[in-house]
């Protein structure tokens, strides 16, 4: 790899002059500028960002942690954040935390060691106080899909409770009174918020919640299949099910179908997230739209903001879910 020194030698100037050309410093004579540019071309010189960052203390990069590099949810977030950031010359470095405490910690460590100018975190296991400490003595921090009350200005989150409320209310308004809830893992707060919204809706409509209506699945693909079977085995005359996400909903529908129940004729199903493929499943899934892309976009914007690179309002805050009615729910009777 050629260095700035060699370029300087070739151009017959000092390193300082080459550096000035590289950084667009106007205090360089036209002659020298040309010479340097020629030398750069000829040698195929490529500045070493490591060295540069070492002295400038800026890496022009934002670090992001997501649950996993795969999957439609994170894909959209990364994609949108990257769009916003790259337009401002900031590169996004993404790493997976895999919803695992140790991995999340080491991911943070990794990004910190790389001296990212800003951190965008989607972490499940890292406890609040560690995040708080990080926010205090690290680079600017943005937390997505989670609310730290003391750091709300750095958080972007979804009103999960409301989403679940909307979904359940939709079922109630269509006359359903025996409504199951296939929730996510019991230890995720997303999951619990959604359960809360479900219960509030029941309560508002004067329906008494029954424990046998609730069952837990996991958020990944096929997460709802087993859960739905458990539910069915309980014989609890349900006519509708609110599912904590679309994967659960789709795989639960499969289980229902196998049990001879038709969706939506025998049982109505609502999902959550509105991931891309919900439009293509049959019946097309009624679900709660999660503005993921907006979340990604805002994360990028807020990052720029905190790095002092964006004008206008900060983009933190709560995002609103919306009900999308399709074909997997119908009125009772």
């Amino acid at each position: 790899m050629t260095t700035i020194k060699e370029v300087a030698a070739r151009a017959g100037v000092s390193q300082a002059t080459v550096s000035r050309v590289l950084n667009g410093n106007p205090r360089v004579s036209a002659v020298n500028r040309q010479r340097v540019e020629a030398a750069i071309q000829e040698l195929g010189y490529r500045p070493n960002t490591l060295a540069k960052s070492l002295v400038t203390r800026r890496t022009h990069s934002a670090g992001m942690i997501v649950g996993s590099l795969g999957g439609p949810f994170y894909g959209d977030i990364m994609h949108e954040a990257e769009r916003v950031l790259s337009r401002a010359g900031i590169h996004l470095i993404v790493t997976a935390g895999n919803d695992h405490l140790e991995e999340e910690r080491s991911a943070v460590e990794f990004l910190l060691e790389r001296r990212c100018d800003c951190l965008i975190l989607h972490v499940n296991e890292l406890p609040d106080h560690e995040l708080a400490r990080l926010a205090q003595d690290g680079p600017p921090l943005i937390i997505i899909n989670r609310l730290l009350p003391e750091h709300a200005a750095h958080c972007i989150w979804l009103d999960n409770e409301k989403g679940a409320y909307l979904a359940t209310r939709h079922l109630l308004e269509r006359g359903h009174r025996h409504i199951a809830c296939i929730a996510g893992p019991a230890d995720k707060c997303d999951s619990n918020e959604r359960i809360a919204g479900y219960r509030r809706a029941l309560h508002d409509f004067g329906v008494t919640y029954r424990p046998e209506w609730l069952v837990h699945g996991h958020f990944a693909e096929n997460g709802g299949y087993e859960a739905a079977r458990v539910l069915l085995s309980r014989q609890s005359d349900i006519t509708a099910a609110f599912c904590a996400n679309d994967f659960i909903a789709v795989s639960a529908m499969e289980a229902f179908r196998e049990a001879g129940l038709s969706v939506p004729d025998d049982i109505s199903v609502v999902g959550f997230d509105d991931v891309m493929f919900t439009r293509h499943v049959m019946p097309r899934l009624t679900t709660i739209h999660f503005p993921v892309r907006e979340m990604g976009r805002r994360a990028g914007l807020l990052a720029l903001h905190l790095m002092g690179m964006a004008e206008g309002e900060a983009a933190s805050g709560r995002l609103q879910p919306e009900l999308v009615v399709r074909a997997s729910t119908r009125s009772l009777g």
Copy 2:
């Protein structure tokens, strides 16, 4: 940020000793080792990888370029590659090229400037000779989903032609003789290879290809909708369609349905890629399985190999597609 110097001062030793502790060098007395470790804890010291890499000339990172950070295809590739690499202590840095020449170039530049130890490229626009040059004077290079004949040992690609052949043959074996092809964009080589496979199959079964059977869509979501409508407008009595990917297939099915055609009763449809949701669409899509995850895994493995960190065989080479028969195709008559 605390530096190694401060740690040294606090522990009452030299920087060199701290560095030795950091790097697990055994030539440090137990006493000093403890002192240093204590100092590190107390100060919350975090080594600066930038500085480290500057001198060691290793960044312990592999750079990857994909078309976009979103989407199931790249998601899987990134995910699998990351799994393999992170287990070996190598971090994956992913950047999007957005299938755009300039962006791909600048993505390469970015990764090169970051001094990644290895590059994994999924690029569409970058011409062969630029890749060849890169392979020559840059870090180890891996090219996925594309074959550079002179660099086959660094490539991992899919036999697209064969996949298309299998798909088309399946339709032919079921008695179809008027088979459309909804291809991808005409300028992508994936797309053209798949067209070639389609035509070879027709030829092998003695069916004469007709130009009005071919229509181009794009690979993204809904890419097949318009294309299918064009196809229908041609009145070409087709009974089956081979689609160049699953997104095309799914949106084409929608167009067929809108036109009053039932899949598979009136028209059979085969997709390509076998992305996750094809199992959940209705009718469940017959498609060609593209071993994406295997491709990602191999890319990671090959990267390790080229960095001299893996034992065993190199993982380059051609991946085989497989036909997955589901419910969107049926026998004619």
